[in-house]
């Protein structure tokens, strides 16, 4: 017993008792971390962070070394998917616009049963000449029933121009402001006759001229001008535009009016052709 109670043994026992006491004190009975655990965790946190960071670096390096090709391939595939998605969205927009145009045309055609055949065309390019106002469409004799003299309208029936030349796969259209455009017209409000013609000076301003107005003709700003259909060269009742200004000729003898086209010639992308119609005359 004396051997057992040597001072060294007593010392060990005291240390063990202290450790046990501290451990017991630090053990949390409610499930929270105790003092020692907290202290150890605080001490080990920077070490853990450093170790984690090193591990991540190694992992990314490994990924770079061994997964690079896989990631590159994945990136390519994602890019292709994104491109396809963008294209699809664009196509949806285009189809939606085309659908809207066709709906509008359907409404227009149901109001005009005398126009018996339509065709849709896309504007390919505008003339780069300063001396005329014309554009090319993607319909020609090989892919449409188009012929020279057919009228070109927007989806709401506003007159854009007339087909002047037909090729195999494309055709040329002169617009309503071109100097070669000259067709019979009526003032819709009072059915009075006149002639709508392109004028070189007005063409630059995107306007055309309503000439051969009689002295008694009542015409005011805002009057709608429609095609007469006289002579069967153009269908009747197509809206050419509205009167912008009524002026007197430099000679002072006769009057004329400037017309703003109903079709916005600056933003045409799709147009419609009336390839067949029953001849009627409006006004009169």
């Amino acid at each position: 017993m004396r051997r057992f109670l040597k001072p060294r043994v007593i010392g060990f026992l005291a240390i063990a008792v202290v450790i046990a006491a501290v451990t017991i004190i630090s053990v949390n009975t409610r499930g929270n971390s105790g003092f020692i655990t907290n202290s150890l965790m605080s001490l080990s946190k920077p070490l853990k962070s450093a170790a984690s960071s090193v591990a991540k670096t190694f992992e990314s390096f490994y990924g770079y070394m061994y997964k690079y090709e896989q990631l590159e391939q994945e990136n390519k595939e994602l890019k292709a998917k994104l491109y396809k998605q963008t294209q699809d969205n664009q196509n949806v927009d285009e189809i939606s616009k085309e659908n809207d145009d066709l709906h509008a045309l359907f409404d227009f055609s149901s109001r005009h049963p005398d126009y018996t055949q339509y065709d849709m065309a896309e504007v390919i390019s505008w003339s780069s000449s300063n001396w005329d106002s014309s554009f090319t469409i993607d319909k020609g004799s090989s892919n449409s029933k188009i012929k020279a003299g057919d009228c070109v309208i927007t989806e709401v029936g506003a007159l854009v121009g007339v087909v002047s030349e037909v090729g195999a796969n494309s055709s040329t259209v002169i617009t309503v402001v071109d100097t070669k455009f000259s067709y019979g017209a009526y003032i819709e409000r009072n059915d009075e006759r006149a002639v709508a013609t392109g004028d070189f000076t007005l063409m630059k301003q995107g306007l055309l001229k309503l000439s051969y107005l009689q002295d008694t003709t009542e015409i005011v700003t805002g009057d709608t001008i429609i095609t007469s259909g006289n002579g069967g060269t153009l269908p009747a009742k197509l809206v050419i535009g509205s009167v912008q200004e009524v002026l007197t000729d430099p000679t002072g003898i006769s009057r004329y009016a400037t017309i703003k086209p109903a079709a916005d010639l600056t933003s045409l992308s799709n147009v419609f052709l009336i390839t067949s119609y029953q001849t009627t005359e409006s006004g009169g």
Partner: protein, 167 residues
């Protein structure tokens, strides 16, 4: 087995004329100044004719004229004939009486642009009884706007001309 060698100069000329056509028909058509757009193909023809002579000038004029007619939505004849003649005449002048340099080129361009404008408004003047003042104003605007492009085109045609002489 010998390779078929396409001359660099030929490729350069094709690229040049296509570029000029694209700029005239597809870029500047949408960039009018005071309602006028420039005409670039006659300048290219004069440039080639000045530095490479009448035969190349004529050939170039034929091709550029066709492209010009297409850009103008004309039947292929008016500008084709005009620019072919311009190419031959300017080429002959540069081979005989005029020095091959910027003054000859610039005067040739001015003459070609005035001629192009006149050819364009000829039918309007005589068959559509359009006001002469309006026509002349548009012709002046077109010519002046086009003349701006004589400078960049000059450097290209001069470089092409030197390459042709070297080969």
């Amino acid at each position: 087995m010998s390779k078929i060698r396409i001359p660099f100069v030929l490729i350069a000329h094709i690229i040049f004329i296509v570029t000029v056509y694209i700029f005239q028909a597809m870029v500047f058509t949408y960039l009018p100044v005071s309602g006028a757009v420039p005409v670039l193909l006659p300048i290219a023809v004069v440039g080639i004719a000045t530095f490479e002579g009448s035969s190349r000038g004529g050939g170039y004029g034929l091709l550029a004229g066709m492209l010009c007619d297409i850009a103008f939505n004309h039947p292929v004849i008016v500008m084709t004939i005009t620019l072919t003649i311009v190419g031959i005449v300017v080429g002959v002048l540069s081979e005989t009486v005029m020095a091959r340099g910027f003054p000859t080129y610039f005067l040739g361009c001015l003459a070609a642009l005035v001629l192009t404008a006149f050819v364009s408004f000829f039918s309007l003047l005589f068959f559509s009884s359009v006001d002469v003042t309006s026509l002349l104003k548009t012709a002046a605007q077109q010519t002046l706007y086009s003349l701006i492009f004589t400078i960049p085109i000059y450097f290209v045609v001069r470089a092409l001309g030197r390459r042709v002489s070297a080969e």
